[in-house]
């Protein structure tokens, strides 16, 4: 059997989860059944539902945050755990079950072949699967354009949490990761650090159970905040 370059890279799936008790069991099953024997860590962001019971019942590998940090803090916890346990690659898969585990190989391949430092799974490259709501797509499109103006890099699905990061940039993220609405800002941060970012097509599923954390009026606040945050991130440089 030929040894693929980078096949010995240790990979960890980071699963931030806040009140996703209904989705967790299936997600863990999907990961275990994926067959590649990849490690995972679920970050329970101080959920107020019975996520903890579900995790204990399934014998899942998890970290319990004593205080709610939000998705930025939860993902960063996963990255710190990855660095601590000497993983080479960390892949984020959201606890709500929207990220399809079957695309894992597509996301990891460019990292293992050392073609990129960060890979983002994009809903919009092939336009397959759940494409999100119309208003959200406008917002994402705007942010995508803004990021291109600021960094010169064109990423289409800037809010996708389905992304993997390797090596030096994993260590950097473990130290410095944005707290609120982190996905677009994290891209700009990585570019100022000199990372090579690649986008691969994935299909996502619509959220099955539970509630999204961004809706209605908060989306106006979201747009203003993320726009300012992204611009500030670029201005702050390294």
């Amino acid at each position: 059997m030929t040894e693929k370059k980078g096949a010995s890279m240790r990979t960890l799936i980071v699963i931030p989860a806040y009140n996703e008790a209904a989705n967790l069991e299936k997600l863990i099953d999907d990961i275990v059944n994926y067959g590649e024997n990849i490690d995972y860590i679920i970050i329970n962001d101080c959920s107020t539902d019975d996520s903890l019971e579900v995790l204990n019942r399934c014998g899942a590998n998890y970290i319990n945050l004593p205080v709610n940090l939000g998705i930025g803090g939860a993902v960063q916890t996963g990255y710190r755990y990855a660095v601590c346990k000497r993983y080479d690659i960390a892949v984020q898969i959201d606890g709500d079950g929207q990220h399809d585990v079957s695309y894992l190989r597509d996301i990891l391949a460019p990292l293992e072949k050392e073609e990129a430092d960060i890979v983002i799974g994009s809903r919009f490259l092939n336009k397959k699967g759940f494409q999100s709501t119309f208003t959200r797509r406008i917002g994402i499109s705007f942010l995508s354009g803004l990021i291109r103006i600021l960094t010169g890099i064109r990423i289409y699905d800037v809010t996708s949490g389905y992304r993997a990061v390797s090596g030096k940039y994993l260590a950097l993220y473990a130290e410095h990761y944005p707290t609120d609405y982190p996905e677009p800002e994290a891209i700009v941060k990585a570019v100022t650090w000199g990372a090579c970012i690649k986008e691969v097509p994935v299909a996502m599923k619509a959220r099955e159970k539970g509630h999204s954390s961004i809706s209605g009026m908060s989306s106006v606040y979201y747009m203003i905040k993320v726009t300012l945050a992204v611009i500030l991130c670029k201005l702050q440089g390294k």
């Binding site: 004593p66 205080v67 707290t179 609120d180 203003i224 300012l228 500030l232």
Partner: protein, 120 residues
């Protein structure tokens, strides 16, 4: 409003924005908690650049002098910011309490585990 006063106010607001920008850039301020300050600055700037608007809103409140109107708005915004900060501090106090207790409980657990092993 006299021309001198207008110039002083405009320079003041611009200086304010420069200071806030520098502090943000140096990461002395976190964007999330600075948003209200930015909103205040924008409203102040608009009122100072358009004295007609300031006059109208001032008279709407029953205040005579536009400069007093500006002060009132300034004080109003500061109250909002202070209230927001108090709310943030309250939440943080709660989080610190939880962390302290959790930390103490973990320490206790570790001590008990060590004690158990010593007598094996």
């Amino acid at each position: 409003m006299s021309a001198t006063l207008r110039i002083v106010l405009i320079v003041g607001v611009l200086l304010y924005f420069i200071i806030v920008y520098i502090m943000l850039k140096k990461k002395l301020l976190v964007l999330k908690y600075t948003l209200l300050w930015l909103l205040t600055g924008i409203v102040m700037l608009v009122l100072v650049l358009f004295p007609g608007l300031l006059e109208r809103t001032t008279h709407l409140l029953g205040i005579e002098l536009p400069i007093n109107g500006l002060f009132t708005f300034g004080i109003g915004f500061m109250l909002i910011i202070l209230m927001a900060l108090t709310s943030i501090v309250s939440k943080q106090a709660e989080k610190i309490r939880v962390l302290t207790q959790q930390l103490a409980l973990i320490e206790k657990e570790i001590k008990e585990k060590n004690k158990g092993e010593r007598y094996k």
